[in-house]
């Protein structure tokens, strides 16, 4: 512990986090280490890596076919908070929602960044592939992405629109929107993309990936969908705070009921937690105040490729068939637990047949 304290002090002095209390700072260090899957023993290495870094890491944040919810997420960050991210940790050189420059001067900044290279490219929003459906400064959005992705040291797609198209790409996908990986493929750019799926992105995931890169000089290990395993390695169901009630067969049958207040399981309300890989129950949202399921809102599956269409009918109970299908595509890390879950779900579905709601569930299952 003494080492950790000592290094943390240097870390603190080196960076002069604005007005941040020591207690808060340690909380941040601990949280970061935990998110990165590192033991506390790594903290000295982390600090050493940071001390060597000169200047702040440039970031270019491009916003395409999105609703800016991920930019909103970014500025809800707490440790570090938005001011620290913008002023102390990174150099956010381009983000149309917050930058002071406008029009021509904005374009000059983008051009300067492109020539200098070396930036982390963060992309929010999907790419319309229908002509004229998404333009910035008279250019097609997909061309702006192509231009800017080449000189980037890393490309991070944040939120479900940037990863796989998200809600605007739902059927019939009126603007033929694709995610960043697909757009780069079509543009002939060969660049790995880190996908931080969720609608909106959880800013703690983003901060951890960036910090991971700054401190260790490498990108995290990814699953088959390009998502960091440290966040997408387990299902929501596996870590859910309401899980014990699922196991005990205690379910919420009506929103806002006494059972909800008691923390019973939301599976029967349509919760997609058993099929959704994300660390939501651990990381939560908004300074870890709450998250969907804690607030009685069933998971809608927004961390998964194919969302929302794959989960349309957010209130429909997951049928066990889908659970079986999931095992085929799930990554190994969660497969064992997922198999156990599938058995559990099936058993519960049988159990609920007696409750008189079976017909409705079957209808839901046809989707």
């Amino acid at each position: 512990m003494a080492d950790k304290e000592d290094v943390s002090r240097q870390f603190l002095e080196a960076f002069e986090f604005r007005g941040i209390k020591r207690r808060d700072f340690l909380k941040f260090c601990g949280a970061t280490a935990a998110l990165l899957g590192l033991s506390e023993l790594h903290i000295p290495q982390i600090a050493a890596a940071i001390e060597k870094a000169s200047g702040r890491q440039p970031v270019v944040w491009l916003n395409f076919a999105s609703d800016s919810g991920c930019t909103e997420s970014l500025i809800k960050a707490t440790y570090p908070n938005a001011a620290e991210i913008v002023l102390d940790v990174l150099s956010v050189d381009y983000n149309e929602t917050i930058m002071a420059a406008a029009g021509k001067q904005t374009e000059e900044i983008r051009e300067k960044s492109r020539k200098a290279g070396g930036y982390i490219l963060i992309v929010e929003g999907g790419l319309p592939t229908k002509k004229g459906h998404g333009m910035i400064a008279g250019k097609e959005m997909i061309d702006v992405l192509k231009e800017m992705s080449g000189p980037a040291v890393a490309v991070i797609a944040v939120g479900s629109c940037a990863t796989f198209g998200g809600v605007p790409s739902a059927k019939p996908n009126p603007s033929q929107i694709v995610g960043v990986t697909e757009a780069l493929k079509r543009s002939g750019v060969n660049k790995p993309v880190i996908n931080l799926d969720l609608c909106p992105v959880n800013v703690e995931y983003l901060v951890a990936v960036v910090v991971n890169y700054l401190m260790l000089g490498k990108l995290p290990d990814l699953d088959s969908f390009g998502r960091p395993l440290m966040f997408y390695g387990q299902t929501i169901h596996e870590n859910c705070e309401r899980r014990a009630h699922f196991d005990a067969g205690r379910f919420v049958e009506k929103f806002g009921s006494n059972e909800e207040a008691l923390g019973y399981c939301l599976y029967k309300m349509g919760c997609k937690g058993p099929m959704t890989y994300s660390a939501c129950p651990k990381v939560m949202y908004n300074d870890r105040i709450s998250w969907c399921v804690k607030a009685g809102g069933p998971c809608i599956g927004c961390a998964e490729q194919g969302w929302p269409d794959k989960f349309a009918g957010f209130n429909d109970r997951l049928p066990d068939v889908k659970m079986a299908g999931m095992q085929a595509t799930a990554d190994k890390i969660g497969a064992v637990a997922a198999a156990a879950t599938a058995v559990g779900i099936a058993a519960h579905a049988i159990g609920s047949a007696a409750s008189g709601r079976t017909k409705e569930e079957k209808e839901g299952g046809k989707k």
Binding site: R56, S68, I75, G103, G296
Partner: protein, 530 residues
């Protein structure tokens, strides 16, 4: 005559292009263009109506809560249910968090840099230790040569009027406000699960039964925000305003105002909402008219859609069709909504004026005091324009935050009385129609749903920024922002700071704006206001 194009138009939500023609140092003509099309209404067709409140939140990541509520209100109407009292109040609370968050964010992070010269703050001579610290930090930041989001802006422009000390104070508060807007969002997460994208406001009410612990947590967190609004936000507006009073007459626009009303009353009467529904026309100000959904039409000839006649859209098919940017023909993905054929301004100024003319006591007091303070007692029309929009947002932020405290106590009172219910169950009808008329922080928001075979047959949305940023209509009448820009002085066409001020004063949200109205859009006429 010079043409100035601002694209991308920054410090707003979404993708906006503004083009103006300047003659003799003033804007002579203007065009606003939405440059992204996503087509939510097409996507919603055929889906489970219960998914609509979740999907439509993704229209806007800045005001998702307003879309969730507007959608759920339209579904409440279609399903013929009303939330129980605590469900109603909790929706108001969750919405209130978003208003507070949005107004703080707008003033400090989207608009302030049009008035605050960050570089000038280096010349300040602060006495207070905390300000000295901020200045030292700013100095180190500037000297690092990595200016991040503050690079290449219009610092030193002659239209920046604040003395260095006030610039420094504003920079310090810019940073503090980053924390405050986040805290307002954290507060919505307490009941909404997360923000953005609230998870707990389905049709019928809310999903979450708050514990007394939640309520105490809420009240203490809210108190911090209230104090900050009273002691920092409002004083900052008062400190900055005297230097920019020349902007009082600038950016007026058509001066017709629309509010659907927001923050539900126990009576569910839109005219009794905390901020009531109503319509104001420049021609007969200060007369207040009822706001009626059937008086709304949308014009499409200047947007990238196959033309449909505005007053009778049933005869045409409204399909997206990109034909290139041409200010003489079609130049935007936005449509031009009109109320009784008039362009309408929506937003905090519209709401506060409607509340004022309705005699809403808090709004009346806040506005009367403001008018007296600036030497225009009894003349609310001096608020038409840029300065009025800034003031209205600040006053509304305070009014909403103060009421949120009362609502918190109301929830507790209901729990005490054993009226803790938050949700009313419903059956999805085979066929039904519903209208949700509500307000987002940026202005009047309406969703209309038509259900057939328990599925969405048609879904329509008219957003605040569609009203404000829409193009010319079929009669060639400019949209409100276009009109507001006329006459704006431009000192340096290479650095059109003044244009930013006028357009930012409307708090445009472009993701909200662009959507498709289906050929059946004349159905608007058939809906009744709930």
């Amino acid at each position: 005559m010079a043409r100035i194009t601002i694209d991308p138009f920054t410090r707003i939500e979404g993708h906006l292009r503004i083009e103006v023609e300047v003659e003799g140092g003033k804007v002579k003509d203007a065009w606003t263009s939405g440059t992204l099309f996503r087509g939510f209404e097409i996507i919603l067709k055929g889906r489970d109506p219960r998914d609509a409140w979740q999907l439509t939140q993704r229209i806007c990541g800045v005001c998702p809560t307003s879309h969730a509520h507007t959608s759920s209100i339209s579904l409440d109407d279609a399903f013929k249910v009303k939330p129980p009292d605590n469900g109603r109040i909790l929706r108001n609370i969750i919405e209130g968090c978003q208003f507070v968050h949005s107004h703080i964010l707008w003033f400090y992070h989207l608009a302030a840099l049009d008035y605050v010269d960050v570089v000038s703050a280096l010349k300040a001579q602060p006495k207070e230790a905390s300000l000295k610290q901020v200045q030292a930090k700013l100095k180190a930041f500037v000297e690092s040569g990595q200016l991040g989001p503050f690079a290449n802006a219009y610092w030193g422009h002659p239209a920046y009027k604040l003395p260095p000390d006030i610039n420094l104070l504003a920079v310090a508060h810019y940073l503090e406000a980053l924390d405050m807007q986040a805290k307002a969002s954290h507060l919505s997460a307490l009941f909404g699960g997360r923000m953005p994208m609230t998870m707990t406001s389905p049709p019928g009410g809310t999903t979450h039964v708050p514990s007394v612990d939640d309520m105490a947590n809420y009240l203490f967190r809210l108190k911090e925000l209230q104090n900050w609004i009273d002691n920092v936000y409002i004083p900052d507006v008062l400190a900055v305003a005297p230097f920019y009073l020349d902007y009082a007459g600038i950016g007026k626009g058509p001066s017709n105002f629309l509010s659907w009303g927001v923050f539900e009353d126990a009576s569910f009467d839109p005219k009794k909402r905390l901020l009531p529904s109503g319509v104001i026309f420049a021609k007969d100000f200060p007369k207040l008219h009822d706001a009626k959904a059937e008086d709304v039409t949308e014009h499409t000839t200047r947007g990238w859609y196959k033309n449909a006649k505005p007053l009778n859209p049933s005869v045409g098919v409204t399909d997206p069709e990109y034909t290139g940017y041409d200010t003489n023909k079609k130049y935007t993905w936005a449509k031009a909504p009109r109320y009784n054929d008039k362009p309408m301004e929506t937003g905090a100024l519209a709401r506060m004026l409607v509340a004022y003319l309705s005699g809403q006591p808090t709004a009346k007091k806040l506005i009367d005091n403001t008018l007296a303070a600036i030497g225009h007692a009894g003349k609310p029309q001096v608020l038409f324009g840029v300065v009025g929009r800034i003031a209205a947002r600040a006053l509304e932020c305070k009014m909403v935050a103060d009421n949120m405290y009362k609502w918190g106590l109301d929830v507790i009172e209901n729990i005490k009385k054993g009226k803790a219910d938050v949700f009313t169950p419903y059956e999805i009808p085979d066929k039904a129609k519903g209208a949700g008329l509500w307000e987002a922080p940026r202005g009047a928001l309406a969703h209309w749903v038509d259900i057939d075979g328990k599925k969405i047959k048609n879904y329509q949305v008219i957003t605040p920024t569609a009203w404000n940023v829409g193009p010319r209509d079929d009669n060639g009448v400019r949209g409100p922002i276009e009109e507001a820009l006329i006459g704006t002085p431009v000192a340096n066409p290479d650095k059109p700071l003044e244009i930013l001020r006028v357009a930012h004063s409307f708090d445009p949200c472009l993701a909200c704006t662009v959507h498709v109205i289906h050929p059946e859009s004349n159905r608007i006429m058939e809906f009744k206001v709930s």
